[in-house]
């Protein structure tokens, strides 16, 4: 029994080390390859089955995202104004909204080619940007950059910048305005109602 427990601890330790060993750009590459490989083959996903896409994103993508950091970034200077409970609610609602967007974007995927640009970061830098380019025939390539931070659990994405537009900080204006008018609770409420309407609209079960 004790032996088992020790083995279990050791395996945890080993996975933690393993996750840390993966370079940030290699991590993004393996996630992209993984997810696109599935999207290309799965007929349900190609037909736009939202709940199946959501499951895929939940399993393959989300473990590598730091939603705490994302929410803090979107909240900006308002983040410390929220108490622990409010912060937790904000993270949960913002997560649901981002997942919906990410899954929606994935369902429009059409054989685009993703190229990785060389990582420009000093060794040991705990905060790097992995830059990729999505090539589509006939239009100029669009950049998708992932801001990543090093955590004990490996590298985590805390911002995704598409064509120069941050999917996270682009919320700051509307978050600020909502908080100014209705406070932090008002923002939580409006995020929740947004998520509810998206869930009924796409027919997926609310997360």
């Amino acid at each position: 029994m004790i032996k088992l427990f020790v083995a279990f601890c050791f395996s945890l330790f080993a996975t933690a080390i393993g996750a840390q060993d993966v370079a940030p750009d290699a991590l993004i590459r393996s996630i992209s390859d993984d997810v696109i490989g599935i999207v290309k083959q799965d007929k349900d996903i190609k037909a736009g089955n939202r709940s199946k896409i959501n499951d895929l994103v939940e399993a393959k993508v989300l473990p590598h995202f730091s939603f705490n950091h994302m929410t803090a970034l979107a909240m900006g200077r308002n983040w410390p104004k929220a108490n622990a409970e409010q912060q937790k609610a904000l993270v949960a609602e913002f997560r649901a909204l981002l997942v919906h967007t990410y899954s929606g974007a994935l369902s429009t995927y059409k054989n685009e080619v993703i190229e990785f640009r060389p990582l420009r970061a000093a060794a040991g830098d705990p905060d790097v940007t992995v830059r990729t380019q999505v090539k589509r025939p006939g239009t100029e390539p669009i950049g998708i950059d992932y801001s990543m931070e090093k955590t004990p659990g490996g590298w985590k994405v805390y911002d995704v910048v598409v064509g120069g537009v941050s999917l996270v900080t682009n919320y700051r204006d509307s978050f600020n305005a909502e908080i100014r008018e209705n406070g932090v609770d008002g923002l939580i409420k409006s995020l929740a109602s947004k998520n509810r309407s998206l869930a009924t609209q796409s027919g997926a079960k609310p997360k």
């Binding site: 900080t169 204006d173 509307s174």
Partner: protein, 332 residues
């Protein structure tokens, strides 16, 4: 058309005045109440007319045919894109754009096929607003144009004073035919954006401010061809993530040098080094400055007026380049 343009100038002037008054909202958007009204109007026009036509167009035409239409108009656009690349000092990119036009017009059968991309000549995204930005002209206030949508004082003036004249369709002599081509292009563009538009509308808490933020960030990124220097962001210092600097530290550091023209490379290189955390985008307007000169006078929380101080220069410059076109022989 002329009336439209003078109206725009008036708007620009209003933007200049509005810059002094602080509204509760975004410092880049002193015209917010007008903009929101126009945004709602445009959205109504889109939902009632443009979007249904675009949806029908997408349903009727097979994908390869729509790609052909998109390629045809994209090919015509490459000339003007090349001119702007040259104006920005990116001669190699400009030559590549002219090469694209030559290849696609001939081998690609009047541009219906984008063979140049397959041959390794990448498509670029340039317009005169970006050229002005590269030259150091700030974007000015955010403006929503009737039907044409989100823009800024700089980009709108560029559009009317330069881009329309650099568009080959402008020179189609038969006016009804020209307008028809404009219409097809508009519908084709809209059809390409159907999925994306829905995605943005779904993602947004407040659609207007989402589109505004996206437009401003996107334009800034385009001016730097996808590699904008990081701006210091005091809001980021409120986080506890590893590798963050304290707010006090950040304030003591000079902001990244901004800018432009031929001296962009060192700035981009500088952006790779450790900089203060990026500043909230709306906080600082890119201002013309010598490369390497730290914009230390711009405090992390202060911001420049919405309309660049050299606003008069915007008009002067756009007038200047119009005569420039005559010289480049673009005008028949």
């Amino acid at each position: 058309m002329l009336r439209c343009f003078s109206g725009l100038l008036l708007l620009g002037a209003l933007g200049g005045l509005g810059g002094c008054a602080t509204t509760g909202g975004n410092p880049d958007d002193p015209l917010e109440s007008y903009n929101r009204a126009m945004f709602t109007f445009n959205d109504g026009v889109d939902k009632a007319i443009i979007k249904p036509i675009a949806s029908g167009y997408k349903a009727v035409l097979p994908e390869f045919a729509r790609t052909g239409v998109t390629n045809f108009f994209a090919n015509l656009g490459d000339i003007w894109i090349g001119v702007n690349n040259v104006l920005q000092g990116k001669v190699g990119a400009g030559v590549s754009d002219f090469g694209r036009f030559a290849i696609n017009t001939t081998v690609g059968i009047l541009g219906l096929f984008d063979v140049a991309s397959n041959a390794g000549l990448e498509k670029h995204n340039e317009d005169f607003g970006q050229t002005l930005g590269r030259w150091g002209v700030g974007s000015g206030a955010f403006v929503v144009l009737p039907v044409l949508g989100p823009s800024s004082v700089r980009d709108a003036i560029s559009l009317f004073a330069a881009d329309w004249h650099g568009d080959p369709l402008w020179y189609v002599g038969n006016i009804p035919a020209r307008n028809e081509l404009y219409g097809v292009r508009l519908v084709d563009n809209r059809a390409n954006l159907l999925d994306l538009g829905q995605l943005a509308e779904d993602a947004a808490l407040d659609y207007y401010s989402y589109v505004r933020g996206a437009y401003l960030q996107r334009r800034r990124s385009l001016i730097y061809d996808g590699d904008p220097p990081r701006e210091s962001d005091p809001d980021r210092s409120s986080e506890s993530g590893p590798g963050r600097k304290s707010a006090a530290q950040a304030e003591g550091e000079p902001a990244p040098a901004r800018l432009t023209g031929a001296s962009v490379q060192p700035v981009i290189a500088a952006a790779d080094q450790e900089l203060a955390p990026a500043q909230e985008f709306s906080g600082v307007r890119p201002q013309p400055a010598a490369a390497g000169q730290a914009a230390a006078s711009v405090g992390p929380r202060s911001y420049q007026p919405m309309v660049p101080r050299n606003y008069a220069a915007v008009l002067a410059v756009s007038g200047e380049t119009r005569t420039g076109f005559v010289r480049t022989g673009l005008r028949p």
